[in-house]
Symmetry: C2
Subunit: 339 residues, 2 copies
């Protein structure tokens, strides 16, 4: 690999609020050589996910925090460029946790092989055909237990997961209201994605609009944002509603701690449940969901939009902030060029 | 019924904070005569329940608000003293929604006949053998889906519902930690009721004590109080925990609105669910639960404690406040004497 270097972005300090440049360290080291039974991946795509903000915090959670001085954890996609592993050959494309770096040396644990084509670009395996699509699928169908004819509300509706959730709900025969920030996102979800309605939380009164758009109440709420919007939807539940907790992006960078849902007692009034999940728990069933998603994609019944930013690993800190500023539509991906 | 009068307590205004004397109106009117197909009950016992505070508020909930000027809604027990109803005879004892008044004229809808004995006093039909016991039963076994060997935490542990919940959990083979206010309540639940441990939230650090008492996490939390205690338990969930929302007495008289559970994202971390319920939804199955509760009571495997206050309907406003001051142990009941 000649004079190439492995550029890496490491966590230098735990952020409070939005993670600024001061929390990152940019390092480089020689490109690794594969050990026995191992291989080296050249990373081509880095996934940017709201969950990353949680991984940067200290304390117990579903995944250990990224260590100070460690390469930032990230899902990604790349090509095998050197291999001493019988199951992975040079030229294979793999996806999984690769980190914010140009190269990773690995035994392949947790990585899957994928086959991008002219019709299916590699970044789609980080979006609809990857963990994003799986999250939408299992959250809506398994945790949300969606039934035909129900009313679904999804927040972060123009985001990676939300945009898939709404489309899946339409395929399953639900009525779908998306909540998103700004007129472009709202018209994208109702226009291209076929949601029945959208609420622009930046300019509209969410509670008032929900009264109009979900007059019989909300059967399934898929929550990506938390905060005031969660409370507004809790104020509009249908009997036996299911509130699926996928994320809380409005809260992740708060300086004043998390805001709890003040309207949670509506869970009692409407005999409803609020439930969290992690897509990793469904890994045994990913094949089932992936086959169906790929089929619907091929039939044109569902769209996958990737918001691809070209750059280097050094651009990661700035691209990450787009997520928290609501600047992405669809799945945000950093596609690496080598300078 | 001679010169007797029907004394009544009516809601005169909607309270903010604790309901003081200014929200009540004391009225009296002639004792009613039964219409065709109807009968008159002389109320002997009035049930005092945290839910009453919610019924006093305006706005949509699971039950309509008590109207301004209406007799305050209350569960109770009484004797039929005049009847034109083929199914209810003079001398029958009935329980159901009777209101805070000496007499009620009714067609019997929603009322059940019960048979107090020397061993089972009438007030027990408002406690273990009434809605209180049913609430504990269906909340713990149905919504909480308790399994043998699990760890249960219950707040309001010395209260009407909480004291039954802990005993049911013990019978089912669980480890039980109660949270209550004050050393007497704590030693009552561990001593007489057989809870494994108790936390005095007034003097102990609940989070710290839960770390010690539930080292492997809390499988089922039965919440009667909300607020800081709910947050503390959410910080200590076991994987796939169930949080049963029965009430939120710490919040009902708040001037600053409800406090939402800031730790709700632990529902995601622990793939847990939080669910509310209303015991009225289980009315078809009350017989099943009631038979078993009565059996355990007869066998001495479970205790019912009623905190009986003797007084008149005019004492209702002051007795109600005992609930919100945490002054009752077990089920709070006002036993009516006629002055």
């Amino acid at each position: 690999m000649g004079n190439d270097l492995n550029h890496q972005v490491r966590l230098a300090a735990r952020p409070t609020g939005l993670p600024g440049p001061e929390v990152w360290e940019h390092t480089s080291e020689p490109v690794p050589e594969p050990g026995e039974g191992r291989f080296v991946v050249r990373v081509s795509h880095v996934s940017l996910d709201p969950a990353m903000r949680g991984w940067m915090n200290e304390g117990k959670s579903y995944a250990p925090p990224v260590g100070i001085g460690s390469v930032m954890r990230a899902l990604g996609l790349g090509e095998v460029v050197a291999s001493n592993h019988p199951g992975f050959a040079v030229g294979d494309t793999v996806t999984g946790v690769l980190g914010v770096q140009d190269y990773v040396e690995t035994d392949g644990s947790g990585l899957q092989k994928v086959r991008p084509t002219a019709e299916v670009p590699p970044e789609r395996y980080l979006a609809l055909l990857g963990m994003t699509g799986m999250t939408a699928w299992f959250g809506l169908f398994d945790v949300g237990a969606l039934k035909e004819g129900e009313t679904v509300v999804v927040s972060g509706a123009a985001g990676a997961v939300g945009s898939v959730v709404g489309q899946l709900a339409k395929i399953r025969g639900a009525r779908v209201v998306g909540i998103a920030g700004g007129p472009e996102k709202c018209s994208w979800v109702t226009g291209e994605l076929g949601f029945d309605a959208a609420i622009d939380y930046r300019t509209e009164n969410v509670s008032q609009r929900l009264r109009e758009l979900a007059p019989d109440g909300v059967d399934v709420y898929f929550d990506n944002v938390g905060g005031e919007i969660l409370d507004a939807v809790l104020g509009r539940l249908a009997m036996h509603a299911r509130v699926v907790i996928c994320g809380a992006i409005s809260q992740y960078n708060s300086d004043s701690g998390m805001q709890g849902p003040r309207n949670y007692m509506n869970l009692l009034v409407y005999r409803a449940r609020m439930e969290g999940f992690l897509v990793g728990d469904y890994v045994d069933r990913w094949g089932e969901a992936g086959t169906e998603l790929a089929g619907w994609l091929a039939e044109g019944r569902i769209h996958s939009r990737e918001d691809v930013v070209d750059g280097t690993v050094d651009d990661f800190p700035e691209v990450l902030l787009r997520l928290f500023r609501g600047e992405n539509t669809g799945k945000l991906v950093l596609r690496l060029r080598r300078d």
